[in-house]
Symmetry: C2
Subunit: 399 residues, 2 copies
């Protein structure tokens, strides 16, 4: 019997390269092996008690639909949060989304029609591939390299990839998977390019609070002259260790674009109501101390990562500047095989380490085969052990 075929986009959309080693991890567990997860950006820090308190005190009679653009109190709280960085926003310039994921999809769909292109810098957050497939948009990669700490290539090189199908440039800053923070010069160059070529600038600033060594992260919302082109995509997942809340937001001062987001939002009714009360309370109540303390935690883990790996033969990376990731070059041909081997053939005292092969973070075939992404979302004691297993594994794998 003939069965109707699945759509091309359904066939073509990638399996998550972050999650695709999961079956090997499950097999390892079934053999009694325990796993240190450096492969996924799931923070281990506690979700602030303010979230749970707000959920408790908003257990209403009826858990109803909220507004399609999110609760006003939450959008006001986000304005207050931004005002602390000197960024002035109105609640109607913010739309609450179901996770940062929906923010990226809506931004792509509003800026682009099927068959058009977005320029992005590889390695990039791998799920952009999936969102682009859903939106029918082609991601055109410009490669950044481990040698330059994954900072942007020269303006000429970026411009050379622009065609008449290009609609936007997409950045992630601070960067997942590299931990790189763009300088004001780099941001200004991007602003010049989008103005000169009449493009949107889409910035995933989910990790904006995570800047190390006293650096200040600059938002594209601070750049003059691009207020009608700039779209920020954000999420509470990492900031407040609330990945399961599924709340993000879209920010733009372009009111036509915001009306378009609103129509997309009306189609899917609203983001989760209960999570929004929790998020509002966290934005309103958590003080600078909270932000300072989480940045300090991730920074000291970053320092530990440098200390443990930087002097290892054949391993190369520059010091990550923010977020909680590093993309690291290893002395192996194919990190997919190495990461699989760590799960299936290697352990120390019943433990092994799981990392994400970096090829899935590149759009250019063959790039990143000798790199891995590490998410430092474990406490220092566990991280030390996880990295020790990684180093010893690497020695044994090479020999």
């Amino acid at each position: 019997m003939t069965i109707p075929r699945i759509s091309n986009r359904g066939n073509n959309i990638q399996e998550s390269p972050i999650r695709k080693l999961a079956p090997l991890a499950n097999e390892a567990r079934s053999r009694g092996i325990e796993i240190y997860h450096l492969n996924i950006g799931q923070p281990d820090l506690p979700t602030p008690v303010e979230f749970w308190d707000a959920v408790k005190s908003n257990m209403s009679h009826v858990l109803a639909y909220g507004p399609s653009n999110g609760l006003l109190i939450l959008r006001e709280a986000i304005c207050n949060y931004y005002s602390r960085s000197g960024i002035s926003l109105l609640p109607e310039q913010i739309m609450i989304t179901t996770g940062g994921s929906e923010a990226v999809i809506f931004a792509m769909m509003a800026a682009c029609d099927p068959g058009t292109e977005i320029i992005c810098f590889e390695p990039f957050y791998t799920n952009y591939n999936g969102f682009a497939t859903l939106a029918g948009v082609k991601l055109v990669p410009v490669t950044s390299s481990v040698e330059s700490g994954f900072h942007l290539p020269p303006k000429d090189e970026i411009i050379s990839r622009i065609t008449d199908r290009t609609r936007a440039i997409l950045i992630c800053n601070p960067n997942n998977p590299t931990g790189t923070i763009l300088t004001d010069n780099e941001l200004n160059t991007l602003a010049e390019i989008v103005i000169e070529n009449n493009l949107f600038l889409l910035a995933d600033e989910v990790y904006r609070d995570f800047a190390f060594d006293g650096r200040k992260h600059s938002s594209i919302l601070e750049i003059q002259d691009i207020s009608d082109r700039a779209v920020v995509m954000d999420s509470i997942s990492k900031r407040f260790s609330s990945c399961g809340a599924r709340l993000g937001n879209l920010i733009t001062r372009n009111s036509s674009l915001m009306s378009t987001f609103m129509k997309f939002g009306q189609a899917r009714l609203c983001p989760p109501t209960l999570s929004q009360y929790g998020a509002t309370e966290m934005y309103e109540s958590l003080t600078d101390d909270y932000y300072t303390s989480i940045v300090a935690k991730y920074q000291s883990r970053r320092d530990l990562l440098m200390q443990e790996l930087q002097n290892t033969d054949g391993i190369f990376f520059l010091k990550p500047e923010g977020a909680f990731y590093a993309t690291i070059r290893l002395p192996v041909d194919d990190t997919d095989k190495f990461a699989s081997w760590l799960l299936s053939d290697f352990s120390i005292d019943g433990w092994t380490t799981m990392v994400a092969p970096a090829a899935g973070f590149y759009a250019t075939p063959g790039k990143g085969l000798d790199e891995i992404r590490i998410a430092y979302v474990l406490d220092e004691q566990k991280m030390r052990k996880a990295l020790r297993i990684l180093k010893l594994g690497l020695e044994e794998y090479q020999s």
Copy 2:
């Protein structure tokens, strides 16, 4: 200065016709007028205490990502729920989605590529238009009429709309906005059509528990020979009065299709974690008494609606068989104007009634201009008052 233009899909996607009268409602409120909402399917019944109890007892240290296809305990609970209707499912045949909305989008995107078509029966749930725009799919309407209680037109008429671009037939059963429940004969006819023409059959069965007068709703999951073609889209929003939880699900026995849904799901990471604990507990703990009592409530409201409106001159509709909607023909030329007028120019003792003009539920231009959708989601006392205002308003509007 040139500004990049918004995508065609962004420009073309409809504003929600259910929500578009909201500005007039806000103005009425600012004049001190209170509003009975018969315009939106937001149940007034309490969210079961089982939901809140489960949320309270799952306030974990870290609100983490869950699996992309949803928590196994929830998928198992849904299997148990279906087994009570004699429908046998495995947890891996169910994927938890962020609301029924995401279920419909994923189903459309997996079945269709941009430029292909889905046949649906108008009037239909208006947000299908938005989902179709996002997916780049054309909805091809087959019209059902108030005279035949919105049951399906003959097989020939349906088949005549099939082209080589058709990929699926989409039904909503029990129906929003009409309250019609398809007979087994109608379902079998649809099954024949999808087999004969090699199509998917997508069924939105969100209201499957709401069948009146002792009727039994039949799911497409019960039809032999279409297990590889049948996709059910469901939601807990109405069943458990939990619209703000944003949880739905996709069900199919076609494992390739489920793998495709899973890849879509991985891109957006996961549905809301906390809501899933609440939903699990409701599926597991609520007994037949719960379902019987909510159906009885909606049925008695349906009876009240019949009693109040059926003998009114110029109003026509047949008795709704399920869900909590009725699509009603009024003796006016343009219900959009009438519904607006009720908000801006009419009130009794400081109250007015808001209804949804039905034109937005049709894809064929000019259809449904003399119809409204009523959602009977108010208690009987309020409904009686709301309908009295509607009737008196109609009299005054006509004179």
